[in-house]
Each structure stands twice: as C-alpha cells, then as structure tokens.
C-alpha cells in the first residue's frame, strides 16, 4: 500500500475517534503513531514518543503561551475586568444598547492583553452578563454579544492562534500580530454596528440605561487605565528594543501581577491563578503534542505533497482553492476547537495556499478569522458553551440565535479582508 493511502486511512481513523468523543489530543497522537509505525516501522514510531514531547516542550517559541494565559487569568481574577466594564459603561450612558456596546468595547480592550478567546469570553461574561440581564436586555442579545465579543481575543494581538500559525508556517510572530491588529479592530467596529442596527430594528431587545454626566464619564476612563498601561509597556518595550515579542509575554504577565498585587491579590489568589493557567496551558499543550506526533506522520505519508499535485492537476483558479479551503475550515469549525483545527489543518493546506500564490501572512489572518467563526457556530462553539456556563437558564438555542447576526458581521469582515488584503498587510 502506498504511503498516502495509509495516510488517508489514518486520517479516517482519526475522524472516527473524534466522532466517538476521544479527546482531540489523543486522537492526533494515536493516528500519528499508528500511521508512522505502519508506513515506517514500530521502533522509529516509538522514538517519536521521545522526540515529539521533548522538542515541543523545550521550544523557546512556545514559552509565551502560558504567559499570555497567565496575563488574562490575573487580569480577570483581580477585578480588572470589573472596573474595565463599568468604566466603558459610564462612557455609553443612556444609549440604547449601550451596555452591549460597553461589553464589546471591554472585550476588545481585554483582548489587548489576553491571547485566548475563551478567556476573554469567560472574564467579560462574569461581569457584563448579569448587568445586561438586570437592565432588561433580551437574553439572545446579551449572550450573543458576549460570545461574539470574546472571539476578539483571538485576533487582536496578542493571540495564541496567530502565534501558532506563525510557528507552523515559519512566519515572523511580530508580522502576524501586526497583521491581526486592523482586522481585529475592524471586527470590533462591525460588532458595534451590528448591535446598533439590531436595537434600531427591534427596540425591544434593549432598554436604554441611566444617563451619566461628563464627570462620571471621565471618572470611568480610569477603569481603562491598567489595561492601557500594560499594553503600552508591552508595545513600547518591543518598539524600543528593550525586549523581544517572545519576552513581552512574560513582562506583560509580570506587570499584570504587580497591578493585581496592588489591588489586593495575595498568595492564595496568585497560586489559584497559576493553577488555572496550568490547567488551560496543559489543555493547549496536550493538543500541540498530539499535533506534533501527527505531524511526523503527515510528513512521511507525503499527503500534502500529493494533495498539492492533485489540486494542481485540477487547474483550479487560486480563488477557488482559497474558497475550498475556507469552506473546509467553516465546516470543521462547526465541530472542532479552534486551536486544534489550526494545528491539524494548517500543515496540510498551507502548501496549497502557497502554491496558489497567496501571501502567507494575509492567509494567516484570513484563516484565523474563519477558524474563529467556529467558536460561535453551532453545534460546537466553545464561546457559546462558556456563556452557557454563566447563564444556565438560557437555552443553547437562544444563544445561537443571538449570535447569528454577529456571524453575519464576521462574514462581511472576511469578505472585506479578502477583497482588500491591505487591511491585514498595511501595518506589516
């Protein structure tokens, strides 16, 4: 049997294991191990069990992942998100849908120091959801806003997804982060437009809030201060050459820790934050490990090599290739976690995209937006599940209903970035 036939069989095996609820990390590891042993031999496959974990876990470039997570955890545990939200709220005062807009804005600002979407959604839901429900916002709008707002965490830098994409495809992390900035902000703007249009069309969705005076608004700005200062230190330090983007994660985590201590975080709080960070990091590294083992197998199966030849022979136009890849991402996104999906698919589709002549940095942004959609599309949307955990009495169905307008807005953004690549590449 040819290597690529074995390759496809093992990919089938992996899909089957995914469907029967075997953890994603384990399915990748098993399929990779079995495939490699089948194509090469058992002993070399065993050797991968040494080289994959060791190479992955001693990879300096992965060190920002736990640091970005720690930053987000510390910020949310030390009431920084609380203050951020109330600050943003006083800015919007009596606007109809103002609390939704405040929540979106807080998500955007929180994203500037958090690398993960789930963390962003969870931290902001904790504070903003009760507020919206207290003020008579429709459940669909309240939960939809937060589920969608959370996805900003993955695009506005720093972002674990962009970091992983850069590492898999050997792009510069700095470039990827810069390329994510405008599309991330564009997402925020479009979400705000979506909310405004929604409450205009259906005024019942949101009650107007209490008006705030100019003094209150100015006082509210204080809530944005800690986040802005951490962000400025990170960006300023990189810009002045004081530290590298890789080191910036650790410096950011340290600054956030200092703010947290100043706000009364003590030993037990810090230890709890570390534990939460470790559980989330372990989740991601379990999958990276699985993907690494799977990667050895993908290499020797020569699948991506043959896939490129096959697609070449089809004579598709570059845009058809891109379209096919994005549809594949959206379909997978319905049932898969975003990080897992990137780890799984990018090594296979990247050669196709390169062969079609697309800019790798631009494609990274397009890929991450598409993958990010998966966080809020049914049936498996991680962000929706997170919101559900904070709003147990709201049905999953009505959260998905609330999120649909935002899915639409993401599709508009995707189209804009495909039509105008400069949106992603302008700052690179």
């Amino acid at each position: 049997m040819s290597s690529s036939t074995i390759g496809f069989i093992c990919i089938g095996l992996m899909l089957f294991m995914l469907a029967i609820r075997i953890p994603i990390a384990l399915t990748m590891a098993i399929a990779g191990f079995v495939g490699f042993a089948w194509i090469i031999a058992f002993d070399p496959a065993m050797a991968i069990l040494e080289s994959a974990p060791f190479e992955t876990l001693t990879n300096y470039n992965f060190s920002p992942i736990p640091m970005f997570i720690l930053m987000g955890v510390l910020a949310s545990r030390s009431n920084m998100s609380n203050q951020l939200f109330s600050g943003a709220r006083s800015l919007f005062g009596a606007w109809r849908g103002g609390i939704s807009l405040a929540a979106l804005m807080s998500c955007g600002i929180f994203s500037a120091i958090s690398g993960s979407s789930v963390a962003t959604a969870a931290s902001m839901s904790r504070v903003a959801l009760p507020e919206m429900r207290k003020h008579g916002y429709a459940d669909s709008l309240a939960t939809g806003t937060l589920a969608a707002g959370g996805t900003l965490g993955i695009m506005i830098p720093p972002s674990i997804a962009l970091l992983l994409y850069a590492l898999i495809t050997e792009q510069s992390v700095g470039d990827m982060f810069m390329a994510g900035l405008i599309p991330g902000l564009l997402g925020l703007v479009l979400y705000c437009v979506t909310v405004t249009v929604l409450v205009r069309l259906k005024p019942k969705l949101a009650q107007p809030g209490e008006a705030t005076s100019l003094v209150q608004k100015l006082a509210g700005l204080k809530g944005l201060l800690p986040f802005t200062s951490v962000f400025v230190i990170i960006i300023g330090g990189i810009y002045l050459g004081l530290f590298t983007p890789t080191e910036a994660a650790a410096i950011g985590a340290f600054c956030t820790l200092m703010i947290a201590i100043q706000r009364g975080m003590r030993w037990t709080g810090f230890v709890d934050a570390l534990k939460e960070t470790l559980v989330t990091s372990a989740m991601i590294f379990f999958m990276i490990l699985g993907a690494e083992i799977f990667g050895f197998f993908l290499s020797v199966s020569r699948i991506s090599f043959e896939l490129v030849e096959y697609v070449d022979a089809l004579n598709l136009s570059p845009f058809m290739v891109l379209f096919a890849v994005l549809v594949l991402f959206m379909l997978l996104g319905c049932v898969m976690d975003s990080i897992a999906m990137l780890l799984l698919t990018v090594p296979v589709v990247f050669p196709l995209i390169q062969a079609a002549g697309f800019d790798p940095v631009w494609f990274g942004v397009v890929a991450v937006i598409t993958v990010e959609l998966g966080l809020i599309t049914p049936p498996v949307g991680m962000n929706v599940f997170v919101i559900k955990a904070f709003a147990k009495d709201v049905s999953i169905g009505s959260i998905y209903k609330g999120v649909m307008p935002f899915v639409l807005s993401d599709l508009v953004r995707l189209a804009l970035i495909i039509a105008f690549p400069v949106l992603a590449l302008g700052l690179v």
Binding site: P44, M46, A47, S51, E55, G174, T244, T246, S299, V300
Partner: protein, 315 residues
C-alpha cells in the same frame, strides 16, 4: 524502487546546498542504481529538528541525515577539534582534513552508532550583525550572538559576548525578533538562511568552521543487497567530501557578493584569527578545549597536531 531512503536535513529547499549537494547526491544514487534506490529528501527540517537529527537516524525516524556534529553537545568532541581557529581555510580543504582524520581512524570511534558516508566542513565562519559593528574584541562585549556549537560558544564567551546556542535555521527568526544581535555563520549560511536581509555589518575573521556529516542508519545500510551497498559506497568518501566542500566555497562567494552589493559594512580583520589583537583570546580557547579533553583521557592534542598537518597537506 527496492529501497527508499528518507534523507532529512535542515537547509531550505531553495538553497544551493540542498539543490547541488544533497539533491545532486540523490540524483546520482538513483541514476547509478537504475532507480532501485529512491531518495526522498526532507529539506528544511521537516522530518526532524536539527538537534535531534542524529538521533533520528539512530532511531530510524529518518534513514539518513546531513547534520552538524556539534548540535549534540559533547558527542563528537574529537571531531570538533577541526572547528578550532586556524585549521580550516576553505570548505574544500577543511573537508579533506576532516575526512582524512576519519579515514585514518583518529575520530572514527565517535561515529559507531551510524554509518557515515562522508564528512565535510563549511568555509570560515564570520560574524554578521544587525545594528552593531565589531572591529575589535571589546566591541563584542554584551552582544547576544548565535553560536552553532559549544566550541564556538566558548570562543565567543572568551570575547565577552553572550553566546546563544541555536541551529542555523533559527537564526533568521531570532535575529529578526531581536533575541540575538548577530550570528556566527560562514557566508554560505548567510546565503542559505537569508541573513543578508537583516544584517548590515559583517566582520570577516575566520573564527571557526563547523564539521558536518552525511550519515546513514546502520541497519538500513546492512540490509541492502551488496550491489546497492556498492552504489552507496561509490558515493561516499574523500572525493564526495571535497566535492561538497567545493560547492560550499562557491556559495560562500555568493553570500559575500550579495552583502557587498547591498552596501553593508564589511570589516576584514587583518590576518584573521592570527591577528595579534584577537589571537591571545582565541589561543586560550583552543588550549582550554584541548586540555579539557586531555583531562578526560582523550588524545585531543594528537588529533589537533594531525589536523594542523593535514591542514597544510590538503591545501
């Protein structure tokens, strides 16, 4: 094909080293075996990361590799005597030195775990920096410099730089992100790993030269029929070593010409490693290295003496 050899190395697929040295070798093997041996090359470290490539061959994750002895610290200490300043003048001559040392049995014990086909060296290694200039040893103080192996690292440390160990393919990224201020590489490496896009100043000093090997898994070789073994043997040994060195020398010229054309600052240290300002520090490193091995009971001085003799003979 009767035999498929998975050949892992870390040069990018677009580099002349991949195309001329390794793809060239593979084509010759396929032609001479009438297609009975097929060579699948995995360039760009796609099958195994550089520091793990030697182990990957021992464990048969790959069947063969072209890699750097010094990426696994302390495994090829006697071979690395060749890397000390003053031994290697050009890649072709250096390759002749290292292959001869191997064939004379002076360093062969270090290669027991695999079957080496040929050993070679690159040309002289220099310093390439971004935003800094190095004219004298003092200029290196506090700079973070990528170093390929421990031997080179201890030299840089003697010069008060902060050596950071990393394989050549990681140089570009690290330099771009500012993890390091510069790299020690031959001009070939500057060309292969696109360092001219980042560096703006080059100090030609001939600090060191790396030793490389092309080596194969033992059991894979042993399981081949005799006529195919002969094909492999035919494409092994001194001639291949020198031929590879020659290509490295050509690419060295490419890399240097590129930098000149880009208008980079070129600093040439008069007399190279023999320059009186640099010599004391470099000599001290050589002496330390040899003594350290001698203390462990290895005939380092013997090998070094022979390497210097060969260095003249191979010219």
């Amino acid at each position: 094909a009767d035999v498929t050899l998975r050949f892992a190395h870390f040069w990018p697929a677009v580099s002349p080293i991949h195309k001329e040295v390794f793809q060239g070798w593979a084509d010759a093997i396929e032609a001479d075996s009438n297609g009975r041996i097929e060579v699948e090359i995995y360039p760009g470290a796609t099958l195994s990361k550089p520091p793990a490539q030697y182990d990957a061959v021992i464990n048969r994750i790959a069947d063969m590799t072209a890699t750097v002895q010094g990426y696994t610290a302390n495994r090829f200490p006697l071979t690395q005597v060749v890397e000390l300043p003053g031994v290697v003048k050009t890649a072709e001559q250096g390759s002749c030195v290292i292959q001869s040392l191997y064939e004379e049995g002076l360093i062969a014990d270090e290669y027991k775990d695999t079957r080496p086909l040929f050993l070679f060296t690159h040309g002289q290694g220099h310093l390439h920096l971004k935003g800094k200039e190095v004219r004298e040893p003092a200029d290196l103080a506090g700079l973070r410099i990528r170093r390929p192996t421990l031997v080179v690292g201890s030299m840089l440390e003697g010069l008060e730089a902060q050596p950071v160990g990393m394989p050549a393919p990681n140089s570009y990224e690290s330099m771009q992100r500012g993890v390091i201020n510069g790299v020690s590489l031959p001009w070939e490496g500057v060309n292969s790993f696109r360092i001219n896009e980042l560096a703006d100043s080059h100090t030609e000093i001939g600090l060191y030269s790396l030793s490389f090997m092309v080596t194969m898994n033992k059991s894979v070789y042993n399981s081949m029929p005799d006529d195919l073994k002969q094909v492999i043997d035919k494409h092994s040994g001194l001639e291949l070593a020198k031929q590879s060195g020659k290509i490295f020398d050509q690419v060295d010229k490419l890399g240097r010409a590129e930098a000149v054309e880009l208008g980079h600052t070129m600093i040439t240290i008069e007399g190279g490693a023999e320059n009186p300002v640099w010599k004391p520090v470099l000599d001290a490193t050589t002496e330390n290295y040899l003594q350290e091995l001698e203390d462990k009971g290895m005939p380092a001085r013997n090998v070094y003496k022979r390497a210097l003799e060969l260095s003249e003979q191979c010219l």
